[in-house]
């Protein structure tokens, strides 16, 4: 009796799937090498920054609110102690604040107040420095949703009228800081 050598669909899939998956991965890695994200359009740009009132990191009785910054150009930087990319970005924010007068508000995202990260946020700041004017604690990530935050880090540039003018998704790089962020802040400060 001759053995049947017809292949079932499942067998073909099992053989070809690894190669296909790998080619997809290779394509992704290739794009990862060549891509250079600079400007990301966001549905939130040009819209008023969502109002929030959140407890402050070092003084939980006191609150932070968007209203506190009316009439100023300020940055909202979303970060968390568990976020690796934030570490790289943090150095840059420290330098920015040290050399340029601007209010950077930290939004501590799903971090402080979460059982697993007890004390991590403060330890993180003690280690890497604290460039923030004030830090709002968003344990549940509710405010993050209002801002369309999909992950950390993200940074929003907000103008004097409280409107989001730019959004950096992922860690800001030095080049972006010099070429996009600083000119934009200068421009916005001249606006009424």
């Amino acid at each position: 009796m001759k053995k049947k050598r017809e292949l079932t669909k499942g067998q073909v899939l099992f053989r070809v799937a690894p190669l296909v998956l790998f080619l997809g991965l290779g394509f992704l890695l290739f794009k990862g090498l060549s891509i250079d994200p600079r400007y990301i359009p966001s549905p939130f740009i040009g819209k008023p920054a969502a109002d929030f009132t959140l407890p402050r990191l070092y003084d939980e009785q006191a609150k932070v609110s968007t209203a506190d910054f009316k009439g100023k150009v300020w940055l909202l930087n979303v970060w968390a102690s568990w976020c690796i990319s934030c570490r790289a970005e943090h150095e840059l924010i420290n330098q920015l604040v040290a050399n340029y007068p601007i209010d950077v508000v930290g939004l501590n995202y799903k971090d402080h107040g979460v059982e697993e990260y007890r004390g991590k946020a403060k330890a993180w700041l003690a280690r890497y420095g604290n460039p923030y004017k004030v830090i709002a604690v968003d344990t549940k990530g509710r405010v993050g949703i209002d801002y369309g935050v999909t992950g950390v880090p993200e940074t929003f540039v907000i103008d004097k009228k409280g409107i989001i003018r730019h959004r950096f998704s992922g860690a800001i790089r030095k080049q972006q800081l010099v070429e996009i962020l600083l000119p934009l802040v200068k421009k916005l400060r001249l606006e009424p």
């Binding site: 067998q11 690894p18 790998f22 290779g26 990862g32 697993e116 280690r127 992922g170």
Partner: protein, 647 residues
């Protein structure tokens, strides 16, 4: 002069590797035995040349040759000798040279210790390893030459202070030996695909090599975790950092491979799985190299990165993995097995093990590449972080542990729950008692996570013990592979116990202390005596003194430091740690506060932390026992017409 010799040796090694990669493989296809005979001498020559090359680089470091660019960027004349040597692999170029050297070392070992393997098969294996070496050496010579010269400098820019540590001296080489070791399993798999034949003997040849690579990887990962714990200064032992993930993925797939090989050897089944896992383990090792060296992901470990190098590794990756997977598409039909097994059998258990481990590795891969995926979609680099990894990996680990307990007890081909019921119930009851009673006596509060963690850990440990007891053999007559399973599984249980307890019961306190202040954590009194200035060979330090006492008995004096390295001006935290088997007491200096000599301090109590690494050591020992099973040693006498075991 010496660096030129090193470079010269490297280039000849490339030429020899090309010969090794082409001639034996070609000979094995058209049956030319003279070409096949080239394999061994070429391997020996390649190894000798790579040894010369690495020795020349070490020499350049030890003699402070600051006319070599790589030495200048990673070393300094004030560096202690040990760190001058370890600085050889302190950055990109030297790490790659070490990689290449270890690859040639593995190839050399395969050539020496494989007398039982037929020359044709051996020629293919060595040939594939030769091809891998060609890719690596090309990469090394073209993009990352460690011997490049620059005008003589007065002194070097120093080794990154993070890396000036005994941990760095041993962690990367160990890890690389593991990574590169999977190249051997990969070469075995590709050789089997070229020949179109994969039998029991093949599995027996491949098993010890895979086990030894796995042992090194296990120990390497544990060393890395230990190093991060005491050197990064915040008392964490695992950060789900891309580079840590890069070592965890091949470990998971390598673990699956070890188990899949058991089935292939004993039952002649899962051949295609085994081949795929062998390709996967090595691919993930290469992918790890790509991620670390290309700079596509941000990590605390990416000390040097460069997109052009990334492109080269990517091309290499496509050839190595894409090529072997294409071969798999063509040849997989030859690896069909005719043997059958029932749904309730050891085969099913090991299949479940493979699937779970591969799913775990895929989940880690997805999480690690998530920043890349979002980047490619144009929404910026975004990291998912530990919340994702913990949410995914913990349930998978629980399922894995449950299956592990059953899997070991099962028989080949067909088994019944009835036969196992006494053992299973005994294991379950003992585990439940342990998981409920121990926390009630010792723990400060009840936690369902602790219950779960202890339950699965003791389930794994006790089913393993019962499995050994049921074999009714004296420990001295137990086979090497049985010892391997025993130590490996119990080791994992020990690690799980450590992870559970340290995650839930760690106590951390960030405090402000003035000299003379006392803080009490978990019954331990931490008395701060103040901070003094100290001086090391190449750094200045603030050195704190803390006396820890328990019930008015002094148990330890710790000296945490905050160092400032003179060349790179980089602050470093050296924690003070008091260790016992059941708890670590950890003190790190923060910042000076005010003028009264007050400092911010981070105090931690970490129960059972050492168990995490103790488990890894047990697993490593298990792997060694299994690799040196008498069965594989007997193979030298080439009794190779073995029939698959029938239960």
């Amino acid at each position: 002069m010496i660096p030129e010799i090193g470079q010269f040796a490297l280039i000849i090694a490339l030429a020899v590797s090309i010969i090794l990669g082409v001639m034996p493989l070609w000979g094995s296809i058209n049956g030319n035995s003279q070409y096949i005979a080239v394999a061994k001498p070429a391997t020996y020559t390649q190894f000798a040349l790579m040894t010369v090359s690495l020795a020349c680089l070490v020499y350049a470091f030890v003699t402070d040759d600051f006319s070599v660019k790589y030495v200048t960027t990673t070393s300094n004349s004030a560096l202690p000798l040990l760190f001058k040597v370890s600085a050889v692999w302190g950055a990109h170029e030297g790490s790659l040279l070490l990689w290449g050297y270890i690859l040639s070392l593995w190839t050399f070992c395969v050539a020496i210790f494989s007398r039982s393997i037929p020359p044709l098969m051996l020629a293919r294996i060595l040939g594939v390893l030769g091809l891998v070496a060609v890719g690596f050496l090309l990469f090394l010579i073209i993009t990352s030459n460690p011997f490049d010269r620059i005008p003589m400098q007065l002194d070097g820019r120093d080794l990154n202070p993070l890396l000036q540590d005994i941990g760095l001296a041993i962690h990367p080489p160990t890890l690389y030996v593991g990574y590169v070791g999977f190249a051997v399993a990969y070469a075995f798999a590709v050789a089997a695909m070229i020949g179109g034949k994969l039998d029991v003997a093949w599995a027996r040849w491949a098993r010890p090599w895979t086990n030894i690579a796995w042992v090194f990887l296990t120990i390497g990962i544990a060393l890395g975790s230990w190093w991060a714990y005491y050197e990064l200064g915040w008392g964490g032992w695992w950060f789900w950092d891309p580079v840590e993930n890069a070592s965890l993925m091949p470990w998971l797939v390598g673990t699956a491979l070890m188990h899949s090989l058991v089935v292939t050897e004993k039952r002649g089944l899962f051949k295609a799985w085994t081949v795929l896992l062998a390709i996967g383990a090595f691919s993930l090792s290469l992918l790890g190299t790509f991620l670390v060296r290309s700079g596509v992901l941000t990590s605390v470990h990416s000390f040097a990165s460069d997109p052009e190098r990334g492109l080269f590794i990517l091309a290499f990756l496509m050839l190595v993995i894409g090529g072997s997977l294409t071969l798999f598409v063509v040849q997989a039909r030859k690896f069909e097995s005719s043997a059958k097994f029932e749904p309730f059998s050891k085969e099913t258990g090991l299949l479940a093990n493979n699937v779970i481990l591969v799913v775990m590795a895929s989940a880690v891969l997805l999480g690690t590449l998530f920043p890349l995926i979002t980047d490619a979609m144009g929404i910026g680099k975004i990291s998912v972080g530990p919340p994702y990894f913990n949410a995914v990996m913990v349930p998978l680990a629980v399922v894995l542990a449950i299956v592990m307990g059953f899997g070991l007890l099962l028989r080949w081909k067909k088994d019944s729950l009835g036969r196992l019921s006494t053992t299973v119930w005994t294991g379950l009851v003992v585990s439940l008692v342990i998981a409920v009673v121990l926390p009630l006596i010792f723990a400060p509060d009840f936690s369902s996570l602790v219950l779960m963690g202890l339950l699965i850990s003791s389930w794994v440990a006790f089913t393993t013990l019962l499995w050994v007891i049921r074999q009714k053999r004296s420990p001295f007559r137990l086979s090497g592979t049985s010892w391997g399973a025993l130590l490996g599984h119990i080791g994992l249980a020990v690690t799980f116990t450590g992870i559970t307890l340290v995650s839930i019961y760690t106590i951390e306190d960030d405090v402000r202390m003035e000299p003379g202040d006392v803080k009490t954590i978990q019954g331990y009194e931490f008395k701060f005596l103040g901070v003094k200035d100290a001086k090391g060979p190449n750094y200045m330090a603030h050195r704190g003194t803390i006396i820890i006492s328990e019930k008015n008995q002094v148990i330890a004096t710790l000296h945490p430091e905050k160092r400032s390295y003179l060349v790179q001006k980089m602050p470093m935290t050296e924690a003070g740690i008091d260790v016992t088997l059941f708890r670590d007491l950890f003190v790190a200096l923060g910042e000076p506060l005010g003028t009264e000599g007050a400092w911010s301090l981070r105090l931690q109590y970490k129960p059972f932390l050492r168990w995490i690494w103790l488990g890894a050591i047990l697993m490593g020992l298990g792997g060694l026992f299994a690799a040196f099973d008498r069965r594989y040693r007997g193979m030298r006498k080439s009794r190779l017409n073995i029939k698959p075991v029938t239960a």
